[in-house]
Symmetry: D2
Subunit: 379 residues, 4 copies
């Protein structure tokens, strides 16, 4: 029989659902030696916390996150609250010797991230940041192709994350549903929320970014604040585009916006190498585009790989070829990897330290946008 | 607190996984008044049954399906075994007064289906056949578009289900993994396995089929039988194509094969109406193609609807716009509808009676292929 | 300097434009030893014939097609008139010893086609039927792939030709613009007009068809006749679907309709072989879909080949990779091949004899639809 | 009968073919009151000039471009030579009072462009720069959608032009085929060759660009020079990416490279407005993507408009719906517009003055890439 691991969940919003689902599902599909036991969930409002606990099977609920830290039976703390709360909770959890899974972006900025890195490394606790898209099978397969040398020298890395849900000036900022538009809670706008995903994957796929040059814009300058009830200036970036140079000599082009009409959550990347290119798109996350110049010339073309076969990353655990999985599965894969590594005392990528590198790119991006100059990324 | 309903699962293969997963997930996402309690699973081999029970949380296991019927606490029997076993189990379950969810195709033929229909109707037990693709949100949305009259008079219904997994003559017939190639277990080949899905959706979308004309072929004439260890003639149809006429005057064209290289599980349909057309494809199940002739002429084009918004069928229960779900969700939706209706004493479509209509079309198709003549579908 | 060849064009409608354009363009792009000299055009109305001659550079015009035949300087007669006029003109042209390019379908039926075949073979005049889609580079490339054995044994050939321009009951039949809806002028509806293209390509790609089983429908039963001014019964097939068996053991599925809302001229085919599959679509005629099972498993996918490179059929004569050509180019390629072969005394495919095979499949299809039985194709 | 206009063509390379073809074809499809008469072609090598003249029907040929200017019967001079030769020829042609069609980019830089603008405006001669992609019907339709206000306020303009033909270090620079890699002949690399197209369309679609920030790279640092026979440093930009701000407040992101494996000539743009978005792709130039948020929510999706109908720009002159045109047609449309306007004494866009604006953006881009700073675009 599997060993149990008690989990404390901090947060009961959207991300808490994705993580809770992963804990419920992971052992149904993956053979990991640990079985999550959902011990406590914490959220601001008692009724909602209770309802969340009932739905997902948490044994208890609380409105004080310190209760989770203080519960000695809890071995794994999962942080699914707005970005400005990550640091304090993570520091406490590390001090209490708990493994930590923290939602992205890790922190509000690189300095805060460093503090968190130092805390988990000092406490020697397992730590992972939930850049879940790495574990979409097609994205993992892209990494495999790169590691196998299929692309050769990389020339270009291109990514964007386009949404359209904040175009209306009537969308408020702040509060449960729209804290992402409130600079105090979110730190930044699309940079930390969306580009952080693109940057994490880029660093993983293509190595360090050395320097960046960015432009940001806030199209709607003021919005009603859901908590204060007042119309307040908007402090986040609605759109951010940046150019960059990678250490390996390749060029990067990244863009994110919440003003791209028609795109709900269009995260795409394309990587152009000497021999081959790869493309991916979150709106059809089960497909990978691949072009291989070594194919015979009259048969060359972009291939649309339907990433559903048993020999593709993670897919041996699901259904049969042709039957696709969806968004939430990336979190199940994350849980499977984290629990599997935890059992063996091995780190799981991206650790807090790796996520700090993403944070530092974000910092450089925001600084560049402010100054209008190229910025070197801290390392 | 929700009322529990004890479930007995007969079978531990692929479909039993999809159904078990649905029972585990349904209450996490849907507000249905019943919570499945997994009571017993039955399968031929004890070790496998036990392992299945452990993985999915069944309280007990057995190798004798009659034990499931005899357990008075079990209210719902789920039949996930090869087609030739459906009837006997369903008749017993009906007699025992249990609700029944039966995998498709309902029976080996229309006569057997009729017997099953009469049994459940006599016993007045809830009954549902698992034509799961109806409950892929895009497929349900297609039905909604038709019911809203968006298409107007229908001229054409076209569907195919193309696979390529049996092209090699080395694939055996019979046994756990390949019983679908064994005529004794499966009844027919692609007709019952794949076309049944297409026919079920077509009857739902477009009404009764009056007459059919079919052609079948068995490309590989003999295969090793996994149970007997001998090379035996193949009795199933590897490919089946048929023309038909619907009662509403529209024409149908259906094709299925397991010899379409490059297609893993490409189930597609297209419906052409006077005003609008609809297309769908299982390989991108989260999208619906839609063309509306009433659009202004210079802006007319096929729309690719990303069926992930909260106002689309079932999608309000999942994530946010742009984030797709996958294959197994169709079974979760099925469970949600079935349990919801069960609690209210309402039937869930397709009932055994509705599935019998599909069976009768299959019978006519196979008879036509044998005789080379047009066949009227029994009604 | 190139030798000239005087051309007489019979017809000034849509097809006459495509052919005239080909004669004007062929020497700009292809190195063929003959240069067409446009000598005379013939059409029913003098003013239109004159305008056509002026636009395209014909030296003269006439309203009597016999004048074209009688002009001894004309070596090539091009027949671009409604189907019911092909035979008489072709017989006269053959007798006069002229090379003949005839629009498709060759004749109203197989018997008439045979008469035409005998006439050109007796007269030993060059003869070609304008099944232009064969010479779309992607379609020619498909043939090349098959001939290279890339597909291995063929299991399925699937084609359809879908349009939507006659859905409105207000479209008349007969007359210049809509003679295709008049059974007297066209012989049949979609069968001869559209399916003939699909059948021609299928015979070329996949060899003889042995037997067929078809269904036709006329959705709009009567239409105003543009010539008589009266509402008359519609004699053509609006839609036709047929199943067939090829001599090589593969199965065919063909469909055509003018009632598929959203499809302007969607001619598609897909060929499934043991090792590879091919797909093509007239709406993106510069692309070929290709799946090769011999690719390494994790990189397998349908390739979209952009057929614009210099080593692909005909494309070395056009622009540079990435820059597509269009519809009319298929006629320029046809002219290049015909003139090139003519200069060398070689036949060009499809000859009248080859086109007769297509006609005989059409005959069998129409007979089958009438009788509701399988029909053997005459050979 | 149409009035003739004598044309002198300077150049016999790739672009001279596209322009000559346009002069041959324009009157076959468009009713313009002028008919080009091909009077003289000029090129460096006599044999090639003669062969070009024969193929396209030029009455004479020369190796000295001044002969074209000196021929008083020539009314229209068409400049299809490398960029470094545009200015001198255009100045002479203007002085001689001839209408001028000049290939893009207009000049090597803004200062030179200004000189050319002043010359044509002083001489009051018709002048047009061949940014041909404006006249791809789908691109023109995009402009029409914007002018009709369908998009509302524009937030983003995104364009790229990706190729892969210079990845091999064995491709030489300089000479007939590869002068685009030689900084002396081309002025710049992808910026003037490819981005100029993107910028021209952007200024037309979305108004003036105020400031830019760019990054360029030369991946292969030295190449054999086809003229000198020596390995020489490469002076052009292999890749260029830039951010920009438009006067209307929208943000721009532009990228071009010749190192994007798998893309032959992938020019794409996407425009995101408040109400609607538009996308286009040169690899499928006959389609326009369109998303309209005002569609009913459950039917919203990106539409793929097959731009082949008679009510779409230019398409009423070609075939029937569903039948696509290709690359060279953009030049035919350009010729039709230019000749039509010429006959009426009206300017045709983009004039030299309009093309100068594009040149100034290119200048700012190259300056920014050199300095690493934001640059204001001269106006």
């Amino acid at each position: 029989m599997n060993k149990k691991i008690k989990v404390g969940m901090i947060g009961y919003g959207f991300m808490a659902r994705t993580h809770s689902n992963a804990y419920c599902q992971v052992n149904h599909f993956f053979d990991v030696p640990l079985t999550p036991s959902l011990q406590m969930v914490c959220g601001l409002e008692k009724d909602k916390a209770e309802a969340f606990a009932r739905r997902w099977g948490y044994a208890s609920w609380t409105t004080d996150w310190r209760k989770v830290i203080e519960d000695d039976t809890i071995e794994l703390v999962d942080i699914c609250v707005p970005n400005n709360l990550h640091a304090e909770i993570a520091l406490a959890a590390a001090k209490a010797g708990k493994a930590i899974l923290c939602e992205k972006p890790l922190a509000l900025n690189g300095a805060q991230a460093l503090e968190m890195v130092q805390a988990v490394e000092k406490a020697k606790v397992a730590n992972l940041v939930s850049f879940n898209y790495r574990r979409v099978p097609a994205v993992t397969l892209a990494k495999q192709f790169i590691d196998q040398g299929r692309l050769g020298r990389i020339f270009h890395y291109r990514a964007n994350f386009l949404q359209d849900w904040t175009i209306s000036a009537d969308v408020p900022q702040g509060g449960d549903a729209t804290w992402r538009l409130d600079a105090k809670a979110a730190g930044s706008g699309v940079t930390g929320d969306l580009l952080a995903h693109c940057i994490d994957a880029a660093l993983w796929h293509n190595g360090p970014i050395q320097s960046v040059c960015a432009m940001t814009e806030t199209f709607v300058k003021q919005r009603l604040h859901a908590e204060t009830g007042k119309v307040e200036p908007v402090g986040i970036d609605d759109a951010c585009t940046f150019l960059c140079r990678f250490q390996n000599g390749s060029l990067g082009n990244f863009e994110s916006t919440r003003y791209a009409r028609g795109h709900k959550a269009l995260y795409t990347f394309e990587i152009n190498g000497e021999h081959a290119s790869i493309g991916w798109d979150l709106h059809d996350l089960h497909r990978l585009s691949y072009f291989d110049h070594r194919d015979e010339s009259i048969t060359r073309g972009w291939r649309s790989i339907h990433v559903t076969d048993g020999d593709m990353p993670y897919m041996g655990r699901w259904w049969v070829p042709g039957l696709q999985i969806g968004y939430e599965h990336s979190f199940i894969h994350q849980a499977a990897d984290f629990l599997g590594n935890l059992a063996q005392g091995k780190p799981t990528s991206p650790t807090f330290r790796e996520a700090m590198a993403t944070q530092r790119v974000c910092d450089a991006v925001l600084a560049s946008a402010k100054d209008g100059t190229w910025q070197t990324v801290a390392s």
